[in-house]
């Protein structure tokens, strides 16, 4: 693989590849019709949040069930700042940049505060607190409906295509571009962190917090930073979504959506950024696929109504369980373990049709970090430490 970029190392390579992929993705938008571009914009916005979540869960072992609420924080901050900018007479790119700045600042502060609380909490406690945050979101927007607009949320001004592109693309494609750019920056930054010394520390904290602390890793600080980064990524995703849909409301960021983000992170493969991309695509496309499949069958109106939506939920829940139990490395680990550890896994049929399954055996989307989770069995002698000592 050095042939691709022999001179590049470390962070710089991550950045270059991030940039290349961003450009590729933007080029890809020309192959899509407006509706698919809208879907792509949504997927990419979710990708930000899922990448943040997968970093948090996969690298530091902290589980958040409230990432949708963290997205909402970014979205609300974007909407408030952008509306303020509108009042000041700004529009277009300056308004967007100001809105993003607002979203990032608020997400950082919010993530930091939550992270400070969360760093003291072990897995299930943090999961419970973030769950409570997801539940409290509608109450908060109702309580402060003067600012946050209650159930209806906030609307922002329409963002058309800038003058220079207006002959080239339609608005959905423009929105996809912006969403891809945001994700490109955010995810490249996450990838760089993951690869850095900080990323190593996160893994150390996940594997054995006490041991990490003894070897000089400031565990609490690492966890706070991880939570903050994750929150910022989710906030950026929320801001992107707010930009694309020109609105934000609590009903769009429910607990169910939070859980879907967990599905995306787990099914993609915890800790894997490629997996996060697959997971984000999955949660957008699967309900649509399920809908298409059920439409193909004749059934009574009542049955159709009962299946609609519920069937997608059923598939997601089932996937979550199966992946977690059978292949904790997620989609990203399929075809990965060539000649390593256990015997090579059977080539599972790819859920993505011929295009993906052709690519899977040789070029797996996963990267090495997943194996130190799934391959951990080797070291897991784990003579269980009795707690009564």
């Amino acid at each position: 693989m050095n042939r691709i970029a022999p001179a590049l190392t470390g962070t710089r390579r991550t950045i270059v590849f991030g940039a290349v992929l961003t450009v590729l993705a933007i080029a890809g938008t020309f192959g899509l019709d407006p509706y698919r571009n809208f879907q792509l914009a949504t997927i990419v916005a979710y990708f930000c949040a899922v990448a943040g979540l997968t970093l948090l869960v996969g690298l530091t072992g902290q589980l958040s069930l409230g990432h949708a609420a963290l997205m909402a924080v970014g979205g609300y901050a974007y909407a408030l700042t952008a509306n303020l900018a509108t009042d000041w007479g700004l529009d277009g790119v300056p308004r967007f940049l100001l809105g993003m700045l607002g979203a990032l600042v608020v997400s950082t502060v919010h993530g930091l505060l939550l992270g400070l609380a969360g760093a003291r909490l072990q897995g299930p406690y943090l999961a419970g607190v973030t769950l409570a945050i997801a539940i409290a979101l509608p109450a908060v927007t109702a309580q402060f409906s003067g600012v946050l607009g209650g159930d209806q949320g906030l609307q922002i001004a329409y963002e058309g295509v800038p003058e220079i592109f207006s002959r080239l693309i339609v608005v959905e494609q423009w929105h996809a571009w912006v969403s891809i750019l945001i994700a490109g920056v955010v995810v490249t930054a996450l990838a760089a962190v993951r690869r850095s010394a900080l990323g190593l520390k996160m893994r150390a904290v996940r594997d054995d917090e006490t041991a990490a602390r003894l070897s000089g890793v400031p565990a609490a600080r690492v966890k706070v930073i991880a939570f903050t980064l994750s929150s910022v990524a989710a906030g950026a995703g929320g801001a992107a979504l707010c930009f694309v849909t020109q609105s934000i409301s609590p009903g769009a960021y429910t607990l169910a959506f939070s859980l879907l983000l967990v599905v995306a992170a787990v099914v993609g493969g915890l800790g894997s950024i490629g997996g996060a991309a697959l997971g984000a695509a999955l949660i957008v496309l699967l309900p649509w696929l399920v809908g298409t499949v059920t439409d193909a069958f004749e059934m009574s109106a009542d049955l159709e109504q009962r299946l609609s939506g519920n069937l997608g939920l059923l598939v997601f829940g089932g996937l979550l369980i199966v992946v977690m139990l059978a292949r904790p490395g997620g989609l990203a680990s399929i075809g990965l373990r060539r000649g390593r550890g256990r015997t090579a896994p059977p080539r599972s049929p790819s859920p993505f049709g011929p295009a993906a399954s052709a690519a899977a055996p040789t070029d797996s989307p996963a990267d090495e970090a997943d194996t130190d989770r799934t391959g951990v069995k080797e070291v897991a002698v784990h003579v269980p430490t009795e707690r009564e000592r």
Partner: protein, 292 residues
């Protein structure tokens, strides 16, 4: 003052249900060191069973019994069929699989029973008894309180006075030593799940008749509040669950009554954060919080 008394009484009855459900979370925590995020959904399935059996038999009590049994069976199935296999997987596998289970169960309930609210009847009148001019607890509230306290008492006896209880406690605290001593630990874990799921089912069946009706989301909020209660009380402490439940129930009713309904969920979040930050092991825990 009358209003305050009334709110206190109402809060007590709700709190008893929270306490009972929180107790079920404590039971499972003690048996398997897992916070079962699927507890609400599992209890809900049992409640649907109770609803169906009551409908068929015409008797609330037959339905209640069937629901409790169904809860135990579901607990058995979930432990043997799913949770047993999470041990060797990812550290968060237990939670994540439980979340998957919630999705599956709610989807199945939606498919088989639809989304409508199905009213459930109470076995006793739910009109409050008057104390002077102030309405206090209804006979149904009293029933709930008695059942909640009764179950707590039975559980206390079971755990502290019987061989089964001794083995359950030992298995939870020191699984390996227990096995060395001939205790069938994996059976104890299963029994713990069954007990816990049955208690949760009972709590859900007590709650649903006081609400809009049975539907696939009936226990969503109950789980959150009970989780808060369990954490506030200390996940290892049944006494903490009881006191925590009553405190949270009363506090929520007071907040709703004096400040506003919207503030209550925010209040719960704040309470949860405060307790976890100040006393991460819960108010009634004897020892430091353990890692999961």
């Amino acid at each position: 003052m009358d209003h305050l008394l009334f709110l206190l009484a109402t809060g007590l009855a709700r709190g008893a249900i929270f306490a009972l459900f929180a107790l079920s979370l404590v039971l499972i925590w003690r048996a398997a060191r897992i916070i079962n995020f699927a507890q609400g959904a599992m209890a809900l399935v049992a409640t649907y069973v109770a609803f169906a059996v009551t409908g068929l038999s015409g008797s609330y009590w037959v339905g209640l019994t069937a629901g409790i049994l169904a809860g135990a069976v579901i607990g058995f199935g979930v432990e043997r069929g799913l949770m047993r296999f999470t041990k060797d997987s990812h550290p968060l596998a237990g939670i994540i699989v439980a979340i998957g289970l919630v999705m599956v169960l709610q989807a199945l309930l939606g498919i088989f029973f639809g989304q409508q609210h199905r009213p459930m009847q109470t076995p006793f009148s739910d009109s409050p008894l008057l104390w002077g001019d102030t309405p206090l607890l209804s006979p149904y509230d009293l029933f709930v309180l008695v059942v909640a306290l009764g179950v707590m008492g039975v559980m206390a006896l079971l755990f502290n006075r019987t061989s089964l209880g001794l083995q359950l406690r030992a298995s939870a605290f020191a699984p390996e030593v227990s096995r060395v001593l001939g205790v069938r630990v994996s059976r104890m874990v299963t029994i713990g799940w069954m007990l816990s799921a049955a208690v949760a089912a009972l709590a859900a069946m007590l709650l649903v008749p006081t609400e809009l009706g049975l539907n696939p989301h009936s226990t969503d909020v109950l789980f959150i509040y009970a989780f808060t209660v369990a954490v506030v009380g200390g996940l290892d402490s049944p006494v903490g669950a009881l006191i925590g439940g009553l405190v949270v129930g009363v506090a929520m009713t007071l907040v709703t009554g004096y400040i506003g309904a919207t503030v209550a969920p925010i209040g719960v979040l704040v309470l949860l954060l405060l307790v976890l930050l100040v006393r991460p092991g819960g108010i009634f825990s004897m020892r430091e919080a353990r890692s999961a």
